[in-house]
């Protein structure tokens, strides 16, 4: 049987996700969204889709790592990226536990925040390691000074953006743990974008090759996550945040592109 191309999967996934979530943004009270795809069912499907995407991202990253030999420098960063996605998958499984097993509203903070936050550690280490490994390839990927300038410049822009975006969240009337969790995710997403932007500069010269496609997909995914986490922080621990269809769509597409990036890397190594 001929394997289905990733391009078709991407088109089909985006079409289905938009068809499910976008009409809900425009007509939230439509009969279809009350009787057939009720908020609870939609939330359940959203969890399954996000867990599926993140698990796929973890599996393909770890399988990519295993395709490298122990002497290959890129083995470890792929393993770290895979660990990060695996921890986030665990976070979503725990998050799902509250409404669908315990039948209670998810508290803030919850047990899911532990694997979610821990997941950023291998992510940061992995991304910094990727920069060092790709720079060591000897290929013309830009000078150290240029990469440093990009890191400082993007760091400064993202710091100003964080200050503007997260200021109102920091002043919100929330308890300290709630405030910490609300701020931690968007801050860490924005911090992760700095090495990501440097990586994009490094692989920019690889367009339109497979190496570029891997990182373009991962970058799109991380942009989606940064937007979704920032909006979640704005909405705060409310029912509106838990049910917002636009927010779920952004998360879902973010995780989906992350999974695509990992899959493309696996295809690059395994084909």
């Amino acid at each position: 049987m001929k394997p289905i191309s990733l391009r078709r999967v991407v088109i089909a996934f985006i079409a289905i996700a938009c068809a499910v979530y976008l009409p809900k943004v425009l007509w939230p009270e439509a009969r279809f969204y009350v009787e057939v795809l009720s908020p609870r069912r939609l939330q359940f499907l959203g969890f399954i889709a996000k867990i599926g995407c993140l698990a796929a991202g973890a599996v393909f990253s770890l399988r990519s790592a295993s395709q490298f030999s122990k002497r290959d420098a890129a083995r470890w960063p792929w393993m770290l990226l895979g660990s990060s996605f695996a921890l986030w998958t665990a976070g979503y499984v725990i998050l799902m536990f509250y409404p669908f097993v315990l039948d209670i509203r998810t508290p803030l903070p919850s047990a899911a925040d532990l694997p979610f936050l821990l997941g950023y550690v291998p992510l940061f280490v992995g991304l910094v390691r990727f920069i060092s490994v790709y720079r060591g390839s000897g290929l013309p990927v830009g000078s150290a000074r240029q990469h440093l300038r990009i890191a400082i410049g993007s760091g400064a822009v993202l710091a100003i953006l964080s200050y503007v975006l997260l200021g109102p969240i920091a002043r919100a009337d929330l308890s300290w743990p709630q405030l910490f969790i609300n701020l931690a995710y968007p801050v860490m997403d924005l911090v992760a974008l700095v090495p990501m932007i440097v990586m994009i500069r490094i692989v920019f010269a690889f367009r339109p090759g497979s190496v570029w496609a891997v990182w373009a997909a991962l970058f799109l995914g991380f942009i989606g996550l940064a937007i979704a986490d920032s909006v979640t922080a704005y909405l705060g621990p409310s029912e509106a945040a838990a049910m917002d269809p636009g927010l779920h769509l952004t998360y879902l597409l973010g995780y989906f592109f992350v999974a695509c990036g990992a899959r493309l890397q696996y295809e690059l190594l395994a084909k």
Binding site: Q67, S69, L139, G209, V211
Partner: protein, 87 residues
């Protein structure tokens, strides 16, 4: 590095094999950098020169493709070069 104009030249064969992975520009830039490293110009390369060039390309490719896949890619290039009759 400019294309040689001869689509069957050794450099074009190597560049074509690397393009799907590294992209057009990087494939040619990688060749240029590694030709310089081994002190070659790209014209009239002997089979020994080509082997030196491929050996020089290997560590850089390993970073992105790993040793196993890099070996597969380079073996494929060697076969193509051999079928056209050396350098």
């Amino acid at each position: 590095m400019a294309a040689s104009g001869d689509p069957d030249s050794a450099i074009d064969i190597i560049a074509r094999a690397l393009q799907p992975l590294l992209g057009d520009n990087m494939a040619r830039a990688a060749l240029e950098v590694n030709l310089k490293k081994v002190g070659l110009s790209g014209a009239d390369l002997s089979p020994t020169d080509l082997e030196r060039l491929l050996d020089e390309l290997e560590p850089g490719l390993c970073v992105f493709l790993g040793q196993v896949h890099t070996k597969r890619v380079l073996d494929g290039i060697r076969r193509q070069l051999a079928s056209r009759g050396g350098g």
